[in-house]
């Protein structure tokens, strides 16, 4: 085991993935500078310019070309520099990447990974703090993955590269260096579609993913001081949704708080809450609470703290479900 931060774990996973010569990594500034977050640092020197490719500033081109490569038998990993810059490629993703398997009844497939840093919390410029994962989760044919630990980042990224279907791989910007953890030295994968019960508890389930796991963990620690035993579910994959793990936890605790930093309306939390209501309603002791970003643009640095769910907001939601 080695202790790595998430950026290092992702770098190690990309390095490992590139050992398969079908794998290519392409995106803006990914090669020479190793990416704006240095996730691909050193990979150009090791794997060469044919495999680690700096592209023009051209998101639709990056995804469209990666899609063509995937159809022709490569395993491309496309990096979009920020989630907020992914929208020019939405037509490629929605109209082609997500559909070619169905359009051709399995004859042609697009096993590619589209990585994108997402989320607020670092006071970045406009468009650099987006959390619009529900856009991707809504599109049939995609898988959507969000790790919160270095080990999961490594294992999920390798699983995404191996996956026969397109995977949207979301990297929480805030966790690139803040998340540290032990990562086994031997290559491993974490199965896509499985949530993790990160901490068992009996009183309330807190369901989160990505950077919001920081607030979820801090809340659970604080609750423990007052004798409330929270169970923590790290979703890890949004699509396909691991209903069994979520329902298993909520039917046990009878209370659920769903946390995400994305805007509230039609956010993924609405899907989680509905799944709980549809299948776990009679186990509930209180209504499901959502703690989310507001239906506003993510504020810039000086006001960002009003937007991102805080430990206090999650605590307040837990208190409400405990008192119900």
């Amino acid at each position: 085991m080695t202790e790595l931060n998430m950026a290092q774990a992702l770098n190690a996973a990309l390095d490992r993935a590139l050992a398969d010569d079908r794998v290519v990594l392409l995106g803006e500034d990914v090669a020479q500078t190793g990416g704006v977050f240095r996730i691909s640092d050193g990979l150009l020197a090791k794997h060469g310019a044919d495999r680690v490719i700096d592209t023009p500033v051209s998101e639709s081109g990056i995804v469209g070309a990666a899609y063509g490569m995937a159809i022709a038998g490569l395993r491309p990993i496309a990096e979009l520099q920020f989630m907020g810059f992914s929208y020019p490629a939405l037509d490629q993703v929605i109209s082609h990447v997500a559909r070619i398997r169905n359009r051709s009844r399995h004859q042609f497939t697009a096993p590619l990974v589209i990585r994108m840093p997402y989320g607020a919390g670092i006071g970045a410029a406009e468009h650099h703090s987006e959390s619009t994962e529900a856009l991707y989760a809504h599109i049939p044919g995609l898988k959507v993955v969000v790790p919160s630990t270095p080990g999961d980042a490594y294992g999920l990224l390798l699983a995404a590269v191996d996956d026969p279907d397109p995977v949207i791989f979301l990297e929480p910007i805030r966790l690139y260096r803040a998340a540290r953890g032990e990562v086994p030295e031997e290559p491993f994968t974490v199965p896509i579609g499985t949530a993790a019960v990160e901490k068992a508890g009996s009183d309330v389930t807190i369901i989160a993913y990505g950077a919001m796991m920081l607030e979820a963990r801090a809340t659970a620690a604080k609750l423990a001081e007052s004798g409330v035993d929270a169970e923590l579910v790290d979703l890890r994959t949004l699509v396909p949704f691991d209903r069994d793990t979520v329902l298993g936890s909520v039917t046990k605790t009878g209370r659920a708080v769903v946390v995400h930093e994305a805007a509230r309306t039609a956010g993924f939390g609405a899907e989680i809450a509905t799944q709980i209501y549809e299948e776990g309603f009679y186990s509930l002791l209180a209504p499901v609470e959502r703690v989310t970003g507001w239906d506003t643009v993510v504020p810039l640095r000086r006001a960002e703290q009003h937007y991102v769910p805080s430990v206090n907001r999650v605590m307040a939601a837990v208190r409400r479900v405990m008192e119900a």
Partner: protein
């Protein structure tokens, strides 16, 4: 005005050096006659309600058949919804082409080894796919090329720019074939772009552009051969503008009389691609009405058989619509699949 490559004039006389002998030209002619038979048949079937909306390509047979003539089995074709002639010539079966038009996803499933993608319905997004495919050929050193076909309207899409730029920057063996058929639904070519030609756009990207009489199958063959050779020899992409004309409406659901005069099309009927080859072959004693009828009858029969095959397939059950969303039906989708099956379709 830029000079347009033409080898066989509309009156059937050679005005340049033919890249093929008369035997090959006869084969190209036969393919064009077959393609037109399909086009007419599909239009008629749509009128009978047996096919959904159909996008006719009458008048564009030379642009399509000439362009793909040099493609080999290992090469790829990424075409639009108006390119059935080119697709079929590259091995995509009539049955699948008709299936798509009957409204069945199995039309998107050509047999193994046919490197032709199901047609792109969104305009312009598919050109970059041919760049990615060609890029993979370059990386894997297969010597194969990827050809993409699109219309004049598609060149106004941002993805045209991204595809052309990527192809030139990475020198991918991609052949861009723009069938400039004069119209993007109701929008004439002159309103689509202020460029004098579409071919000249290639200059800005740093790739060769060819301005070609798209109704001259020999000129198309010649230009495409050079482009394919360049691609195979690591010399990068080419843009070919095939100047042609959409004789019919945009689709069977369109009424072209609302936006263009019959005069617009009349002159192009004179210049359509089959007549000139027939005149040439006839002058060489290589054409007879009997042979023409034979080719048409044989095409008609093949299309009838393909249609019977297409119509013999049972429509998907509710359960089956879930089968190809992922390699394996995911657990959440399996739940919906059961629900859909239980709910039935009424």
């Amino acid at each position: 005005m830029a000079e347009m490559l033409q080898i066989l004039a509309p009156d059937g006389t050679l005005v340049g050096e033919s890249p093929v002998d008369d035997r090959v030209l006869s084969e190209l002619y036969e393919a064009m006659v077959t393609a037109r038979s399909y086009d007419h048949k599909a239009t008629a079937l749509q009128r009978q309600g047996r096919l959904a909306t159909y996008a006719p390509y009458e008048g564009q047979e030379a642009a399509q058949i000439g362009a793909v003539a040099m493609l080999e089995t290992r090469d790829w074709l990424v075409a639009s919804y108006r390119d059935a002639a080119a697709m079929q010539r590259c091995g995509y079966p009539w049955t699948q082409l008709l299936l798509t038009r009957t409204g069945d996803e199995r039309g998107g499933q050509p047999p193994d080894g046919v490197n032709v993608l199901p047609p792109s319905i969104t305009v312009g997004a598919h050109m970059i796919h041919a760049v990615g495919i060609a890029w993979a050929q370059r990386l894997n050193e297969t010597g194969a090329v990827a050809m993409t076909m699109f219309g004049d309207g598609a060149t106004s899409e941002g993805d045209f720019h991204e595809a052309m730029n990527f192809a030139a920057v990475y020198q991918t063996p991609t052949i861009f074939v723009c069938q400039n058929n004069g119209w993007a639904i109701s929008m004439p070519r002159r309103k689509q772009t202020a460029s004098e030609t579409i071919a000249q756009k290639a200059d800005a990207y740093g790739m060769p552009g060819e301005y070609v009489d798209g109704n001259d199958v020999l000129a198309m063959y010649d230009a495409a051969k050079r482009a394919v050779d360049r691609g195979r020899h690591g010399e990068g992409p080419t843009l070919i503008e095939a100047v042609t004309h959409r004789i019919k409406g945009h689709t069977t659901a369109d009424d072209a009389d609302r936006y263009r005069s019959p005069d617009d099309t009349a002159e192009w009927v004179e210049r359509e691609p089959l007549g000139r080859v027939r005149r040439y072959l006839e002058s060489k004693g290589q054409w007879s009405p009997e042979w023409q009828q034979e080719v048409e009858a044989s095409a008609s029969e093949a299309i009838e058989r393909a249609l019977a095959d297409a119509e013999s397939l049972e429509p998907f059950s509710a359960e089956e619509i879930f089968d190809a969303m992922y390699a394996e039906v995911t657990p959440p989708l399996a739940i919906q699949q059961r629900q859909a099956t239980e709910a039935g379709s009424t």
